[in-house]
């Protein structure tokens, strides 16, 4: 059982790559006996333009049985790399929520991006008169895209970060030439907290106070955080984050913010969450910032700039 593999990261933070390393000791036999890694910028030295950097103008990535790409697409170089990965990979995997649905960087899709990116070079500590760099650096696209908005993806593995167990399952399934077995339920369906069937209060509490729980007792003794009146997005979010049988944020006694994306295929976490809250008799106007609910899924047109208010002169 051996196969070639290529890894790339686009508009990303390297957290997905750390999640790969968090497979831990099981990674050693995979690296020595199963995978021939032909390209992976964070771990090895294969270059786009030849090892001496003088081999033509078109970037080159070797062919691989499996290609794994993290990060969204936000500039021309990302697009070029992604298209090359598609050409060269037999099976192409979108790894992590930036690749599958835009992730946190796609929050920028809710802004007028030209002005906003210009503003980055006008902050309080930046030298006056500075302008946005435009030489050598790749040109930005109009917004951040999920991978499947640009090319065909064979396997989607969301999560911020994705679960090392899920990454291992994807690699093993390819080695064994079978379909991967991945979670299909919601975070709520896999959450052990205690539910009483009714929520406290009729508004959504901001997370400025800790949830109620007994630290000496297991998570299963803690009451559901949504029922405690906090915004917890487990009901509308795909499961997959659990390590020890408890969703990762719930383990920290902190409500879910939906990082694995919608539990429904092409579902909308904001609309689903509004419905879930309203049907529990909660006043959704008490939510301070609804855009935050789309923070992991701003690609696919889910987040757009607010319409500019037109100021009428002389009105």
């Amino acid at each position: 059982m051996r196969m070639t593999a290529a890894f790339e990261c686009l508009s990303s933070c390297s957290g997905c790559e750390i999640a790969v390393l968090n497979i831990g000791e099981a990674l050693i036999p995979i690296l020595t006996e199963c995978l021939d890694i032909v390209h992976a910028p964070i771990l090895m030295d294969h270059k786009y333009y030849g090892q001496c950097g003088a081999k033509g103008k078109r970037l080159h990535i070797p062919e691989a049985a499996i290609g794994i790409v993290s990060g969204g697409v936000s500039n021309e170089e990302h697009l070029e790399v992604l298209e090359e990965m598609r050409r060269k990979s037999r099976v192409l995997v979108a790894l992590g929520s930036c690749a599958t649905q835009g992730g946190i960087p796609a929050l920028m899709n809710g802004q007028h991006s030209k002005e906003s990116f210009d503003d980055v070079y006008r902050t309080s500590s930046t030298d006056p008169g500075a302008t946005r760099p435009d030489r050598i650096v790749p040109k930005l696209l109009d917004r951040t895209y999920a991978l499947d908005e640009k090319i065909t993806i064979d396997l989607q593995l969301p999560g911020c970060p994705p679960n090392p167990a899920g990454i291992l399952e994807v690699i093993m399934s390819q080695l064994e030439n079978r379909e991967p077995v991945l979670p299909t339920k919601s975070v709520c369906d896999t959450c052990p907290t205690r539910r009483e069937g009714r929520s406290e209060g009729s508004t959504v509490k901001r997370f400025i106070e800790n949830v109620e729980f007994d630290p000496e007792k297991p998570v299963g003794d803690m009451r559901c955080l949504l029922e405690q009146g906090f915004m917890c997005m487990g009901a509308v979010t795909a499961a997959g984050c659990s390590r020890g049988g408890v969703p990762a944020c719930i383990e920290a006694r902190v409500p879910c913010r939906g990082c694995f994306g919608s539990v429904r295929s092409k579902g909308n976490q904001l609309l689903d969450m509004m419905n879930a809250l309203a049907s529990n008799g909660i006043d959704v106007t008490s939510i301070v910032d609804r855009r935050s609910i789309q923070r992991f899924c701003g690609a696919h047109g889910n987040l757009r700039p607010k319409k500019k208010t037109v100021v009428k002169k002389g009105a």
């Binding site: 508009s11 750390i18 050693i28 090895m44 090892q51 901001r206 902190v254 301070v288």
Partner: protein, 450 residues
């Protein structure tokens, strides 16, 4: 103008960078640039978000050091809401931040940097990596993988998420530590301390002594340094303290984090998305000239080791004394970043044990009451890659009105450019270059762990 060599992507680093080396008609280096290729706009898209949500959004700046952003952000939000975490909340934040340094250093030294030294800078690119180390030295590699994993799982177990954490919150921490958790962590921390002492010894013999000539010349530049030291005794601190900005001659000024705008400016070049912080308070402007740099200081491990008066833990202090007697203060050789990194690894393990032995660490009062409101807060911590500054202003509803960030790595963009140019100029002559030479240019970058 002659040939342009493009090293792209720069590999075995965290971010996205490209090096361009411009040769003149005789094939000698005319100029060299390292461009940061990524721009995401975090400062802008946190605007309008409720401030208490930002510490769990802003972590995505870096998946390798998310705890640093998480903690600095929480400190900034505390400032906006004028809240002080109770002692146990403060201690838990420091514990998690220091523990997160442990994995980071093991990752960088053994997974990213070591292949250049252990397998050699001239080893073929297809084996000059961590997979090559696993094959060549399976016993060492297995131990390294286990130790990094142990560090990550200690955090996962207690705080739910090691990558993109959520457990630090404005006003303190989301949950207290119970005694059985403390005892488990203490046992594991001792294992990591033993490993860190072994790693330092291993590197002294197999890397620093062996490559002493390379250390003395590759990427060497002369700059100032920035780090954090204890407010009372000037000792090394990662979590909290005063900022110390040192000139190349060893003289320094100390200042509080919220005064950073008086000391640090950010210069912009048209060929890199990354801004270049410089010492505005030196009143000399900004220049990357190798012979007469202006305003250039460095951050990250070597800088912290240089600016501190001593290390606050015994084994790390012993290592610092040996380091200083060999290389002086401030030490300038760029590859010494690796040495300083391993001294910090020892400190982080020792400090973790110290904190876990404090009674306050299991106190149940971990979060102060918080009221969202208008205000400003500046949160500073030492991230693995340098002093990390989050500066937020909130509106009356406690949502972000304005954010300014100076991220650890960026302090070193200007010096990295200088080291790249120094290394390229020294190594490429008369149009002669090969893979090994270009990899050595990258080694000058890798020392900074960008």
């Amino acid at each position: 103008m002659g040939e342009v060599l493009t090293i792209q992507p720069v590999t075995r680093i965290e971010g996205h960078a490209r090096i361009s080396v411009h040769l003149d008609d005789d094939g000698n280096v005319e100029d060299a640039y390292m461009s940061l290729m990524s721009l995401r706009g975090f400062e802008k898209f946190v605007e309008g978000r409720p401030a208490e949500e930002v510490p769990r959004i802003i972590t995505r700046i870096c998946g390798i050091c998310p705890w640093m952003h998480h903690i600095a952000s929480n400190k900034a939000v505390d400032g906006c809401f004028a809240v002080t975490p109770p002692p146990a909340g403060y201690a838990l934040r420091e514990l998690l931040q220091v523990m997160a340094h442990i994995n980071d250093k093991i990752l960088h030294f053994f997974f990213l940097a070591a292949p250049d030294f252990v397998l050699g800078p001239d080893a073929d690119y297809s084996v000059r990596n961590v997979m090559g180390i696993v094959k060549a030295m399976p016993e060492l590699a297995t131990r390294v993988v286990k130790m990094r994993q142990l560090g990550q799982m200690m955090i996962d177990r207690f705080a739910g998420k090691a990558i993109h954490p959520v457990a630090a919150v404005c006003g303190g921490f989301s949950k207290p530590m119970i005694d059985s958790e403390r005892v488990d962590l203490l046992k594991d921390a001792q294992v990591l301390l033993d490993f860190s002492l072994y790693a330092l010894d291993y590197a002294k013999t197999n890397v620093f002594n062996k490559y002493i000539d390379v250390i003395g010349e590759l990427g060497v530049i002369t700059t100032g340094f920035l780090g954090t030291v204890d407010r009372a005794d000037g000792s090394f601190r990662l979590y909290d303290g005063k900022q110390r900005l040192m000139k190349a001659d060893g003289t320094f000024v100390d200042f509080e984090g919220d005064e950073y705008l008086d000391y640090i400016g950010e210069h912009v070049e048209a060929w890199s998305y990354g801004k270049m912080p410089y010492a505005k308070s030196w009143d000399e402007g900004f220049s990357l000239d190798l012979d007469a740099p202006k305003g250039i200081y460095r951050a990250n491990t070597l800088a912290r080791i240089n600016v501190c008066d001593r290390m606050a833990t015994p084994n790390a202090q012993e290592a610092l004394e040996e380091f200083r007697s060999a290389f002086g203060r401030p030490a300038q050789a760029t590859l010494l970043y690796h040495y300083a990194r391993l001294i910090e690894l020892v400190y982080a393990c020792e400090r973790t044990i110290e904190l876990l032995k404090r009674e306050i660490i299991t106190d149940v009062n971990v979060r102060a009451g918080v009221e969202p409101k208008g205000g400003r807060g500046v949160g500073v911590v030492e991230a693995p890659r340098g002093t990390l500054i989050h500066d937020y202003t909130t509106d009356d509803n406690g949502c972000i009105k304005e954010a300014n960030l100076i991220v650890g790595t960026t302090h070193n963009i200007a010096p990295m450019n200088m080291s790249v140019k120094q290394a390229a100029t020294m190594l490429i002559k008369g149009g002669r270059y090969d893979e090994t030479i270009l990899n050595k240019v990258e080694m000058a970058v890798r020392a900074y762990d960008p």
